[in-house]
């Protein structure tokens, strides 16, 4: 399975993982090896289309869509874990930028 260096960089961007230039080649090699390995699955005939076979789909155990938490019960605890907090809010850098293009 050929994976190009550009694809590795693109995967890094998509999955929000920084990849150093010097790592690209070894990651490329690993991915090619693993994809080559799992490609053996192509030998196994599987049903076409959306037919998943005659498997019973497990039912979900759903609860009422209500919360029995008291308002704010976990707020302080959770905010204590946030790296950057201001006035009781989690703070992030500007998401919207004044982009000309």
């Amino acid at each position: 399975m050929a994976v190009s260096k550009n694809e590795v960089k693109k995967l890094g961007q998509l999955s929000r993982i920084g990849i150093k230039k010097e790592e690209v080649e070894s990651i490329q090699g690993d991915l090619e090896k693993i994809l080559g390995f799992v490609s053996k699955l192509k030998e196994l005939p599987v049903p076409k289309g959306d037919d998943l076979g005659a498997v019973k789909i497990p039912t979900n155990n759903v609860r009422e869509d209500v919360s029995d938490l008291k308002g704010g019960e976990y707020t302080r605890k959770l905010l204590e874990q946030a790296p950057n907090v201001e006035n009781g809010f989690v703070k992030v850098k500007n998401v919207l930028q004044n982009d000309q293009n």
């Binding site: 920084g18 693993i34 799992v38 053996k40 599987v46 500007n94």
Partner: protein
């Protein structure tokens, strides 16, 4: 160290016996705890089974002692010192999944299994080492150092629940919890000579378990004996409104299990009853054959069966789980909790945080998962693997009409040397070859010590149909007695 204890060998106790002794006042929870803390002090330097030993264990043990003194009839697990894998949340304690990403993360609530064990009065000794986010088979992928196998310090304890397995084997805890996504309780149990169990998917709540691959993960007991595993399983199982994938009602089989009436299936894709055994170590093969003979001698029928899809188990697994991993681990963004690194902008923060926070194997699986889910490759990999997974479930349903349990070795060979496979992901992935089918299909499975290869333990694995855990326990106890 305690005069009362001189007559009682604490290392040989099972949970039921320890419970009796505590309840009768012959041993206190405090004494039992001291024994394990003593062992930790003695061995932990060499083993590194724990990432943290908790400071409040004595307090909890004393609470149990007080209640017993007051005449209370305590549950079976009261006062039992347990190790907890570092991906199961205990309120107020750190829980890092052995990752730099969560090095300082403090659990804001109890996992459901922890809540249940607390209600029983179990005492938590500490959090045990593991492969980062449960991805690995050796604990070599822990961000905080490898755990050593108590049977040979140059070898791995298995993984990902390697810390739990080593702690039980080295008597650094009475019993432990692990989690199993492809064999992560059973493979280390086999490497360390203990019992490790993966319940039916949906039998035990995953609420408060740090997710790796949500359609595979199950929490399971790791213990010295089969009965101990059964006691812990009984304590942690059950429907949970906080986990929508727990089974509704009580699906567990309560039918009486007459072991001598059972038929054991041995899949030829895993293990040949006669002829060549490709890839299985000679001692593992001999011990497995001996186990089969023991069952035969006890009146069980043995039958060679075929599960065509088993040949592709590892391939299916290593397509679907990276996909689930890439999606589950997207929550670690450095914004709300965990490690946070500063970049030029929001995107830069994400890239840097996740580059620094995740180890090589975790990054590899996220990238792989992103690849198999991406447009253009989805059908060829993920879609195909999901269909294959269903074919495998059908295969198992069919075979379980012919036989009552499936037996195989747990792993192809005993514990390998530290560093031996760490640079080759495929070699690592093949460790799951016998175990991952139970996670792909959701059936319950147990690993039992089957003997030795030199000084290293080997294991056999039993798989039963969905919610037929009692077959595993009954056969396990029978095997233990007749070993």
């Amino acid at each position: 160290m305690f005069c009362k204890m001189t007559k009682i060998n604490l290392s040989k106790l099972n949970i039921r016996k320890a419970h009796e002794l505590m309840q009768n006042g012959e041993v206190s929870a405090r004494e039992l705890l001291s024994f394990y803390l003593g062992n930790i002090k003695k061995h932990e330097k060499n083993i590194h089974a724990y990432l943290e030993v908790f400071g409040d264990a004595f307090e909890k043990a004393e609470e149990v002692d007080k209640k017993i003194k007051a005449g209370e009839e305590m549950p079976l697990l009261a006062g039992i010192p347990m190790g907890i894998k570092d991906n199961i949340l205990i309120e107020g304690k750190k829980c890092s999944a052995a990752s730099k990403m969560l090095e300082d993360f403090v659990a804001p609530y109890d996992a459901t299994v922890i809540k249940k064990l607390k209600n029983e009065g179990a005492v938590f000794l500490g959090r045990t080492n593991m492969d980062e986010f449960a991805m690995g088979v050796s604990t070599e992928h822990s961000a905080f150092g490898v755990t050593k196998n108590p049977h040979d310090l140059e070898r791995v304890p298995g993984g990902s629940s390697g810390g739990s397995a080593a702690a039980v084997a080295q008597q650094e805890c009475f019993a432990a919890l692990g989690s199993d996504t492809a064999g992560s309780t059973r493979q280390p149990a086999s490497f360390c000579g203990i019992v490790g169990m993966k319940p039916t998917y949906g039998a035990v709540s995953r609420y408060g378990l740090i997710a790796m691959a949500s359609s595979f993960d199950q929490i399971g007991p790791m213990t010295k004996t089969v009965e101990d595993a059964e006691i812990i399983f009984d304590a942690i199982k059950g429907t949970d409104p906080m986990d929508s994938t727990t089974s509704v009602g009580d699906p567990m089989s309560h039918s009486e299990c007459v072991t001598s009436d059972l038929t054991i299936g041995v899949p030829k894709e895993f293990f040949f009853l006669d002829g060549e055994n490709k890839g299985v170590d000679k001692d593992v093969e001999e011990n497995t054959k001996r186990a089969i003979d023991i069952f035969k001698g006890l009146g069980l029928k043995i039958k060679q069966v075929s599960l065509e899809t088993l040949k592709y188990a590892v391939e299916i697994y290593y397509i679907i789980t990276p996909a689930e991993v890439s999606s589950n681990l997207s929550r670690y963004d450095g914004v709300r909790y965990g490690l946070s690194k500063n970049g030029d902008d929001v995107l830069g923060d994400y890239l840097k945080t996740r580059e620094k926070g995740f180890g090589d194997e975790v990054r590899r699986r996220i990238l792989l998962g992103t690849y198999v889910l991406s447009a253009g490759y989805y059908d060829a990999y993920y879609g195909r693997a999901q269909k294959a997974r269903n074919l495998m479930k059908n295969d198992f349903e069919k075979v379980f009409r012919e036989v009552d349990v499936i037996l195989s070795p747990t792993t192809p060979s005993p514990a390998f040397k530290i560093g031996e496979k760490v640079d080759d992901p495929i070699k690592m992935y093949l460790e799951d070859i016998f175990t991952c089918a139970a996670n792909l299909t959701g059936v319950p499975s147990i690993s039992l010590p089957s003997g030795l290869s030199g000084n290293l333990p080997t294991g056999i694995q039993l798989m039963a149909p969905w919610f037929e855990e009692n077959r595993l326990f009954e056969l396990g106890k029978l095997f233990e007695k007749n070993q």
